[in-house]
């Protein structure tokens, strides 16, 4: 098993290589140019034809290495050489800052805030997104599994039918709409029970530890609810279907024929088998939560990674886009690996090595 995990980790390297090349090429082929966006911003909306516009564009492109051939630029992203004017002498740089790129965990600086290292900002954003995603994943599994099992065992009852309808509706409701409805219902315009913007109150920095934590919890309720409901609906349906299939199988009949009580039949013989397909879904749920939080973070004004990716896209900030997509891709691969490991632990028929 250890050898298998090691092999899988090594395989991630070429996979990540492929993913980054694809994304890198795609965003450069996409319409829009960071230089025009940036110059537009930094000169307060100055437009083409103004004095010195062309020169400033040239200067921006040169400073950020955007005037190099695309493969050199990719090398600059990957590292370990810095290919910008202050970079490694091999690439015509001054040698002031010879190393850079993903390999030395340097993802460059933001185009707009020139002194802000992207990796530092990404870390800050992840401190927001990762706890929200993990809590949401935990809640999804915590509620979806019992709900799925219950409605499978009580298949055909009124409660099962009601749950089916409600969960189907939840599954169909788009995230942005659900988020806005929650804001309308619980925010100042409705019941006025919960704050709807950001993760902290304005004066949160002045609060003592416990009030600060409470403030964070209260602010997190709606974003987490919005992150959770869709996955919850989906996973509990999957669990129900899996459980129903397992309950009809021959070995469940065998377990009943042994004289075991229905509780043991379901919780021992059926549960472990019906978990197998649900575990594989973990691989897709985790990265969707991290990446898919773009909308939720936007709606609730949460400064997480999803919003960072969105801001990067709007600004055509290649560095931010590459950083966020690379991280999402990495999380996807980690999710797949984790679910494969869990798979082997639940199902003895799966043997790695």
């Amino acid at each position: 098993m250890f050898g298998y995990i090691l092999r899988r980790l090594l395989w991630m390297i070429p996979t990540m290589f492929g993913i980054t090349i694809l994304v890198f090429t795609a965003i450069r082929l996409a319409p829009g140019d960071p230089a025009t966006v940036m110059i537009g911003i930094s000169s307060g909306g100055e437009m083409k034809g103004d004095v010195g516009y062309e020169e400033r564009i040239e200067k921006f492109r040169h400073e950020n290495g955007l005037d190099r051939p695309i493969w050199i630029q990719y090398l600059g992203f990957l590292g370990p050489f810095n290919i910008k004017p202050d970079g490694h002498p091999w690439f015509g740089g001054s040698g002031a800052d010879p190393w850079g790129g993903l390999l030395v965990l340097d993802l460059g600086h933001e185009f707009q805030r020139k002194t802000m290292p992207i990796i530092e900002e990404l870390g800050r954003r992840l401190q927001v997104t990762i706890p929200l995603s993990l809590i949401s994943t935990l809640l999804i599994y915590l509620f979806a599994l019992p709900m799925g099992i219950y409605s499978a065992v009580r298949q055909g009852t009124k409660l099962d039918a009601a749950m089916t309808v409600i969960l189907f509706i939840l599954y169909s409701v788009p995230t942005f709409w659900a988020g806005l409805m929650l804001i309308l219902a619980f925010g100042a315009s409705g019941l006025h029970w919960l704050p709807v913007l950001g993760l902290h109150s304005k004066d949160a920095a002045d609060l003592a530890t416990w009030p600060y934590i409470w403030d964070t919890i209260v602010h997190s309720i709606l974003p987490i609810a919005t992150l959770t409901y869709g996955g919850l609906a989906y996973l509990s349906r999957q669990m129900r279907v899996g459980m129903i299939e397992v309950i009809r199988s021959d070995y469940i009949r065998t377990a009943r024929a042994k004289g075991l009580s229905e509780k043991v039949v379901v919780m021992k013989h059926a549960l472990r088998n019906s978990l197998i397909p649900v575990i594989t879904l973990f691989a897709s749920i985790l990265p969707i939560l991290i990446g898919g939080s773009v909308i939720v973070e936007q709606v609730f004004d949460v400064p997480g990674m999803g919003r960072y990716a969105f801001e990067g896209l709007i600004a055509r900030d290649y560095g931010i886009i590459m950083a966020t997509t690379t991280f999402s891709a990495f999380m996807t691969l980690v999710g797949i690996l984790l679910s494969d490991i869990a798979y082997a632990m639940v199902d003895p028929r799966i043997k790695y090595d």
Partner: protein, 338 residues
């Protein structure tokens, strides 16, 4: 393993099924899969239940074990008496103490009948812990003992195998070990050899017969294979369209079949002695359980069918000339000429 016959001597009635009706609700109406089945199984004997697929023989077995999925299935009437107790009037909790303990069952599909995620030893030991209150260690020892009993080589190693590490024949042996682990007085075997290779079939039948001789248990053998019935049964019940049409001692049935359906079945056996001849077939197919014909249900395929057969259902009556041989047919005389 304790020898247990439900406290009965050989030859006493262990299981008596009377007018059992197991129906299923479907979109087309009610399917009368089992519709008035009666038979007796004597202590220490083997009763073979034969018939084509869809005749209700498996549902009969499932009804005795109360494994018919409800809904859509339900027991519409009749009684099942086992060792003097009425199984159908018991609560499910009461019945669970009998199920897997005094009555055990093995199934047709050894490949899917074992839980793929638990070790075979645990699957055997589980029943022992439940019914006999043994602890983990003792139940594991019993599991090894049972695997040895069903002639699985190096059982102390195999006890930790998962089902996927075993062949079909081995898995059926494990199923038998599981069924035998609490020393049942009745073993229900539902097509136990159908899914297995011919050579393995014979081994499994020998095994069941050997275990029966050792323990004195009764066996209810469900099969469509007349060869298997001839080999191991003491009595035979022939089922057609949810009913028993003929019941007899095995020698009587094969020597002198009296129901036109039984006669047709025996004739359709491939005869090794006469190669090159066309095989005999019974024309038509088994009628749907939603729409059985009126009167005798076999009349739509019977060469002797008459107006009387459509009007009145023939009762399963004992023959006047042969004791213990019952047939449900209006045309016994004509059938002798078939």
């Amino acid at each position: 393993m304790s020898e247990r016959n439900g406290g009965m001597k050989r030859g006493e009635v262990l299981l008596e099924v009377t007018d059992l009706r197991t129906h299923f609700r479907g979109e087309e109406g009610v399917a009368k899969a089992v519709d008035g089945v009666s038979f007796k199984l004597l202590s220490g004997e083997t009763l073979g239940v034969v018939g084509e697929s869809g005749c209700g023989k498996s549902v009969t077995a499932m009804s005795i074990m109360q494994l018919v999925p409800q809904p859509p299935g339900f027991i519409a009437g009749g009684s099942i008496r086992f060792a003097g107790r009425d199984l159908l009037s018991m609560s499910i909790d009461e019945f669970r103490r009998i199920r897997g303990n005094e009555i055990a069952m093995i199934f047709q599909e050894p490949m899917t009948a074992l839980n793929p995620v638990y070790r075979v030893g645990e699957q055997i030991a589980e029943a022992v812990r439940l019914h006999q209150g043994l602890d983990r260690e003792a139940s594991r020892a019993r599991a090894i003992e049972m695997l040895d009993l069903v002639k699985i080589p190096s059982p102390e190693k195999r006890v930790d195998d998962y089902p996927h590490q075993m062949s079909g024949g081995m898995r059926q042996r494990v199923m038998i070990a599981m069924a035998m682990s609490c020393g049942p007085s009745l073993l229900i075997a539902d097509e136990p050899t159908t899914a297995l290779d011919v050579t393995v079939q014979a081994q499994i039948l020998d095994l069941i017969r050997g275990l029966q001789q050792e323990t004195g248990m009764s066996v209810l053998l469900i099969t469509h294979d007349l060869g298997v019935v001839a080999e191991v049964s003491d009595h035979v019940a022939v089922m057609y369209a949810g009913k028993v049409v003929e019941y007899a001692a095995v020698a009587d049935l094969f020597a002198q079949p009296r129901h036109p359906y039984t006669i047709g079945l025996l004739k359709s056996l491939p005869d090794l002695a006469a190669p090159g001849e066309r095989l005999h077939t019974i024309p038509g197919t088994v009628p749907s359980a939603f729409h059985f014909p009126s009167g005798c249900r076999f009349r739509t395929r019977c060469p002797l069918a008459s107006a009387e057969c459509a009007e009145r259902e023939p009762p399963l009556d004992e023959l006047p000339d042969v004791g213990g041989h019952s047939v449900a047919c209006h045309h016994l005389k004509e059938a002798e000429a078939l």
